[in-house]
């Protein structure tokens, strides 16, 4: 508790921005995916930080666990998304023989 909430939030924000940078600038599709995972993690940190500093003290229901449940769901979704994303990358690789995102530009006018 001694660590103020704002410290956690700033670290999460930093992690998010780094993940954003990775998602925007990596050429490899898997690199982009890794950036996305970083962003999801930062979100989880935010959620749990708020849970600990606010909900635990102020929740009305006996078990104040919505923060943790939310975080679990986020992890679940991240897993699912990682699986599907990698499946997509493999499918694209089979079709186009490349994992570089900039080569997948069939939507270009």
């Amino acid at each position: 508790m001694q660590v103020p909430l704002s410290w956690y939030l700033i670290v999460a924000a930093a992690l998010f921005c780094i993940g954003l940078y990775g998602a925007l600038s990596r050429r490899n599709a898997i690199g982009v995916l890794m950036g996305v995972e970083l962003m999801l993690n930062s979100v989880n940190i935010n959620l749990l930080a708020f849970w600990r500093h606010i909900e635990v003290a102020t929740a009305s229901t006996p078990a104040a666990l919505s923060g943790q449940v939310f975080a679990i769901i986020v992890i679940t979704v991240a897993a699912a998304e990682a699986a599907v994303g990698l499946a997509l990358i493999i499918a694209v690789y089979r079709n186009r023989r490349t994992v570089a995102i900039e080569d997948v530009d069939m939507m270009k006018l």
């Binding site: 954003l20 998602a23 925007l24 600038s25 982009v32 995102i101 900039e102 997948v104 530009d105 069939m106 939507m107 270009k108 006018l109």
Partner: protein, 715 residues
């Protein structure tokens, strides 16, 4: 009861018109049916006509012209503020015409069956059409005589003109090797156009009449007030309206009745079939002109001593003598009769010109009968000679009508036919006796009455202001014409029937079939006995149309019997016959050469060529008109068409210029410009669609950051 029949008078023209329609529409292929339809049409008209005639005779007091009649108004034409009522009427002049018209038509219709060779292998290929045409013509003539106004009179007048054209040119495919000889097609056209000149003049007269009186119904036009008005108002100084109108209407009579100078069409109209010549150009249509003047007589006498009667008298008398001189030198049997007709019509016109109204109508009626008889007789002769010709030249194929060398009409090819064709011959001779005015045949009575009236006018001053001078002139010319009439008629008889046949064809000419000879016989009876109705001692004609008629307040002259004049005219006629016998009958011709040719020399040539009138007209009237037409055509082609084409070319040039100057740069430019702008915008926009997902996310991220900063700054 007479009312009942008088009210049916409109049926008279309708019966033959229905026959025409039925033949044209349905029975054209069936010759026998067409014949009977035509006969029934005219037959019904004849029966009804004679019923009306006898009823009128019984009631003549109420029906005398010009103002009294039994009107049958049928239709009013609204023409603005004035009304024209069309209809029919029965008066005694009409009734008198109905004595002659339907009956003579019926005789000729019966005769036509044989003439058009029904039932033989030479039957005319357009047989039914002939009967349709003559039925239509009968409708026209009947309609003319029962009209009660100038409008329907004009309509039926024109119908007759049309039928005349169609019937003269009935054998329109006939041609001759001699180019100078007129073909039926040309003759029909000539007839139509010549009478047209007269018709136009007449139309002008009728229109002026309408403009001055506001009506065209006979009873209204011929009323005292109207006539007085016409006589006293002037078209221009010295010319009262009545005189002008009368002269113009007379123009129509000059055309239709073939008087000088519009006489040129009638001789050439002989190219038509002989029944046509008998019907139209002897009995009915040509007498329509005389009827017209008789009907309009009140206008002619409205101005006493006026110009109009003098003109009428002069033209009539001149034509009578002029035509008879030409007849002397003609070899075509029908042309002799044609000129004879012109001459006799001149008699009638001249009679009207000296005020002998009753005599003129009397002569019209009798002339119709014996002239029709003569024409039909000549047709019978021509038929016989033709048959004789075919009989002799049996091997010839005769698919067309023309046989260049042999003319069956030429009297020089005849001779001795009295023995071969007795019925035709004797009836022809009876007709000739009537024509030349030998006592007691019909022509004597009617011709003599005219001469007596003329002489009376000379002696006592003419009726209706006709001067003594004119009366004498008329009497002299008509008497001379009577001499010549007898001469050329005798010549015709002797050349045709006396002596020996001069050709093989004449030698083998058979008598004609009964359907042709019976009408001849019946008409011969009329020619013999009809005159007795008009003798000066019991003149039925005068009773019918003369006695009660009040023409501009004066009574018509009652013909007295003048023994001197009768004697003179008989002597003159006998002299003519004698001269004819002397030259042609005593030693009948054996060679086809006219004995008069040498002695008369150039005179003979002049007469034979009809005083070269046709050539004069051609050179001075027809050719200039045609040249004028050509000039107009050239003008039309060059100038008018040039202008039209120029407008078209200009239009094309204008549209081309518009296309280059406006449509292409501006309109197309605008349209293309829009497209270009869209394409450029598209190109510009396309840059954002890189297809690279990371670009899209970057844009989103940058946008979020910017928004964030925006909110931060505002807060």
């Amino acid at each position: 009861m007479s009312e009942f029949f008088f009210n049916l008078v409109w049926l008279l023209p309708l019966f033959p018109l229905a026959a025409f329609a039925i033949i044209v529409l349905w029975t054209n292929r069936n010759r026998l049916l067409s014949t009977w339809i035509a006969w029934i049409g005219i037959g019904l008209a004849w029966i009804l006509g004679w019923i009306i005639l006898f009823l009128s005779w019984a009631n003549f007091e109420e029906l005398t012209p010009p103002v009294h009649g039994h009107p049958v108004p049928l239709y009013s034409i609204p023409t603005g503020s004035l009304q024209l009522t069309l209809g029919f009427q029965v008066d005694t002049l009409t009734a008198l015409m109905l004595l002659m018209v339907p009956f003579v038509c019926l005789m000729i219709f019966i005769y036509s069956k044989g003439y058009m060779n029904y039932g033989t292998e030479n039957v005319d290929p357009r047989y039914s059409r002939f009967f349709a045409y003559i039925s239509l013509f009968a409708c026209g003539m009947l309609g003319l005589v029962v009209s009660d106004n100038f409008v329907t009179l004009l309509v039926f007048w024109e119908i007759m003109g049309l039928c005349s054209y169609l019937l003269i040119g009935f054998w329109f495919d006939k041609s001759y090797p001699d180019p100078k000889r007129i073909t039926p097609k040309e003759a029909g056209l000539k007839a139509f156009l010549t009478t047209r000149i007269g018709d136009v003049i007449m139309l002008a007269g009728i229109l002026l009449l309408y403009s001055q009186t506001g009506t065209l119904t006979f009873t209204q036009v011929f009323s005292e007030e109207t006539l007085h008005h016409l006589a006293t108002t002037y078209a221009f100084p010295g010319m009262p309206w009545a005189t002008l109108i009368a002269l113009l209407i007379f123009g129509g009579a000059v055309g239709k009745s073939s008087q000088f100078p519009l006489h040129v069409w009638l001789p050439d109209a002989m190219e038509g079939p002989t029944p046509v010549s008998a019907l139209i150009h002897a009995a009915t249509m040509v007498s329509a002109g005389v009827y017209l003047v008789a009907r309009s007589f009140p206008i002619f006498v409205a101005v006493p001593g006026g110009l109009q009667l003098s003109v009428v008298a002069f033209i009539g008398a001149f034509t009578a003598l002029f035509a008879s001189t030409i007849a002397v030198a003609q070899n075509d049997i029908k042309r002799v009769l044609a000129y004879s007709t012109i001459s006799q019509l001149g008699y009638m016109i001249a009679a009207l010109g000296v005020g002998a109204y009753v005599a003129a109508v009397f002569h019209l009626i009798t002339h119709a009968f014996f002239k029709a008889l003569l024409f039909m007789g000549s047709g019978s002769v021509i038929h016989g000679v033709e048959h004789g010709h075919h009989h002799v030249h049996h091997g010839h194929s005769d698919t067309d009508h023309s046989d260049g060398d042999f003319d069956p009409n030429d009297m020089m090819n005849m001779g001795g036919l009295l023995k071969r064709m007795p019925r035709t011959g004797w009836t022809f001779i009876i007709g000739a006796l009537a024509l030349t005015g030998i006592f007691p045949w019909a022509g004597f009575w009617s011709k003599d009455e005219i001469l007596a009236e003329a002489w009376h006018g000379f002696q006592h001053g003419g009726e209706f202001g006709v001067t003594m001078g004119w009366a004498f002139f008329v009497w002299l010319f008509l008497t001379l014409a009577a001499f010549l009439t007898a001469f050329y008629t005798g010549r015709q008889i002797f050349l045709t029937f006396a002596g020996q046949p001069r050709t093989e064809a004449a030698k083998h000419a058979p008598e004609s079939v009964p359907s042709m000879t019976w009408p001849l016989i019946i008409l011969a009876l009329f020619a013999t006995f009809l005159g007795l109705f008009g003798t000066p001692w019991a003149n039925q004609f005068f009773t019918l149309i003369g006695e009660k008629a009040e023409v501009v307040g004066e009574h018509l002259p009652h013909g007295e019997f003048n023994l001197l004049i009768a004697g003179v005219s008989t002597a003159v006629a006998l002299a003519g016959w004698f001269l004819g016998w002397l030259i042609y009958g005593r030693k009948p011709l054996t060679e086809p050469v006219d004995p008069l040719e040498k002695p008369l020399g150039p005179v003979y040539t002049l007469l034979k060529n009809k005083y070269y009138f046709d050539e004069i007209y051609q050179k001075f009237i027809i050719n200039p008109t045609i040249s004028l037409g050509r000039v107009c055509a050239t003008f039309d082609r060059r100038v008018v068409d040039g202008i039209v084409n120029a407008v078209g070319t200009f239009g094309r040039w204008l549209s081309s210029w518009l296309r280059k100057a406006i449509d292409n740069p501006i309109v197309d430019g605008a349209v293309n410009g829009v497209g270009w702008i869209t394409a450029q915008a598209g190109e510009f926009m396309r840059a954002t669609q890189t297809g690279n997902v990371q670009n899209y996310i970057l844009v989103a991220a940058v946008t979020v950051v910017l928004l964030l900063f925006l909110f931060l700054i505002r807060a």
